[in-house]
Symmetry: C2
Subunit: 335 residues, 2 copies
């Protein structure tokens, strides 16, 4: 294993992205995101992602210096045209208007269009909870997942994220794939040659499979939670696809032309302002949310973000450890 301090990890990520040809705005936005993933122990969305990011640029599937355009679509809708760049920069430039609209009107939506995406939506949720807002985000990906009762890839892994601000505590945040697991987890199993647990995917004829390559290349992943997870995944296809004038996962796969690049699609973010919902009573009611968190933890259950925050507390002190093979792959990309 190779140990890197967080500033070293950021420097390495930045050097790789700069060498690959990304504009400085993207270098910073992407490096911040992948280092946040590694810092929080989310290896599938950490430094490893740089391999796919650079491959996506080399395949001509992302614009290295896109200048996202913010459009004031309606009193409670911001639209950001990412112009083919990675989503992070589009999110960052649209965030101030989204927050302004949510605080003025109580609820607002931001549609990010024509972006290339590599998830870690909890990073965006933290940016919104830092502003005191409650937030929900979701996006399609590419067609990897069969609907319940079906047999072929149609839905994406379609992450759904939620953030709730807490006074004096780290926010309550979850961010999960509506697939049984994130595609990155299956890719890590393939890299390490491990068999998949049951329930993660089906083979080319729709039968259960424990073979990562079979599931990724010929079969389909499954949703979590049976028909309910499948319904949620369909909802995400609709509200972060046609509703915002952007691609479904299947359409995104067609655009990919078999390159296996990071997916090109849209993203929907909804922000709600507790202050506008509650007025003068806001502190009293947010305190009742704290009682809910206390009750969850009081019976030995975990808050969804707890493991990430524990990893963060550790890596902020000790830095991150990555596999030597990954470190060598990254050094090779630094030029």
């Amino acid at each position: 294993m190779t140990r890197l301090s967080l500033p070293e990890a950021h420097q390495l990520a930045g050097d790789i992205l700069r060498h690959a040809g990304f504009s400085e705005a993207f270098v910073q936005a992407i490096a911040t995101t992948v280092v946040a993933g590694e810092r929080d122990g989310c290896t599938s969305h950490g430094l490893w992602r740089l391999l796919g990011i650079v491959a996506t640029l080399r395949a001509g599937k992302v614009v290295a210096d896109a200048d996202p355009e913010v459009i004031d679509q309606a009193p409670s809708i911001v639209r950001v045209d990412a112009r083919g760049g990675f989503s992070q920069l589009a999110f960052n430039v649209g965030l101030p208007l989204l927050a302004e609209k949510a605080k003025a009107n109580g609820i607002a939506a931001m549609a990010i269009n024509r972006c290339v995406h590599f998830s870690a939506l909890w990073v965006e949720m933290e940016a919104l909870t830092d502003l005191g807002l409650v937030a929900v985000a979701c996006n399609p990906t590419q067609a990897y997942v069969a609907p319940t009762g079906g047999s072929r890839p149609l839905f994406g892994t379609n992450p759904l994220a939620f953030g709730w601000p807490r006074k004096g505590s780290q926010p309550f945040i979850f961010d999960f794939a509506t697939s049984a697991v994130a595609r990155g987890e299956i890719e890590l199993h393939r890299r390490s040659g491990k068999a998949l647990p049951d329930g993660w995917g089906v083979d080319r004829v729709g039968q259960p499979s424990n073979d990562a390559t079979e599931v990724l290349d010929h079969g389909a992943m499954l949703t979590f939670g049976g028909h309910k997870g499948s319904a949620l995944s369909a909802m995400i296809e609709l509200i972060a696809g046609p509703l915002i004038g952007d691609l479904t996962s299947l359409e995104s796969s067609v655009v990919d032309e078999g390159c296996k690049a990071l997916p090109y699609h849209g993203e929907l973010i909804i922000a709600l302002d507790p202050q506008r919902f509650l007025g003068a009573a806001v502190d009293e009611h947010l305190e009742r949310a704290e009682q809910l968190f206390t009750a969850i933890q009081g019976q030995g259950a975990r808050l969804p973000s707890q493991r990430r925050y524990s990893a963060r507390a550790k890596t902020l002190q000790e830095g991150v450890e990555i596999a030597d093979s990954l470190y060598q792959d990254l050094l090779a990309l630094r030029g």
Copy 2:
């Protein structure tokens, strides 16, 4: 079994509610909802619910003639104070302002406060899709469900519903409990003395149980989908509880004082207007949603509302059939 035409079922429901002492506005709103449940084959939200509705009134846990107040809370927030009445009337009186705000601003929320609730959120989703709006709704219930990793009731069954309007077709709608099953299903198992399938609940010490009475009275239900379902259920507690200044499921249980009345709490509804998101391109993009539905059905999978619509097509012709014992119970309530 006793067969009733839908008008007969509505008449019977109306007579029972009128005899119980509900104002005519509630008689019509509640009868419409329970008959819609029975019509669509959702027996757990059908005529059977009248028993609990009347019991709740007799227990003094609902206001029979409440006059809901609509409050223009913020440019994109409607609040309706149900004043202790059933939710249906509050929804109906708030709907026009919610739709107006969604169509003006692109997205809007309606918070229903201080209502008594017996679910069937898909009825509300249909009212919104009929207006061309996309909609999401959720609410806490009472503390029946343990968070993943916990052992005691904390979350409600917390339904989540979604509606998507379709031109020339019945809307795409789902409405599911974030518990492994609806509490009503477990109650029906108790009524009929059937063992529960695995995964529905735990006993008083947190171990798996197949005994409906043990799960309902001493143990806890489980969420669907493990920690992801548990996270969703927590989100619903937060956004349809403290965010709207209303009760969590645990707080609602305290208010109940052991009466096992229908739950008293709030509800959050979010409406999004495709026209404001998409402008002139709206038809083109909604057509792409139709392609998604075709692809789902093309691989043999079912749309979530399909079974309800099939039941509806049949009962509109043939009426509904209910168990004789239930029919006798209902006749006894008609006075």
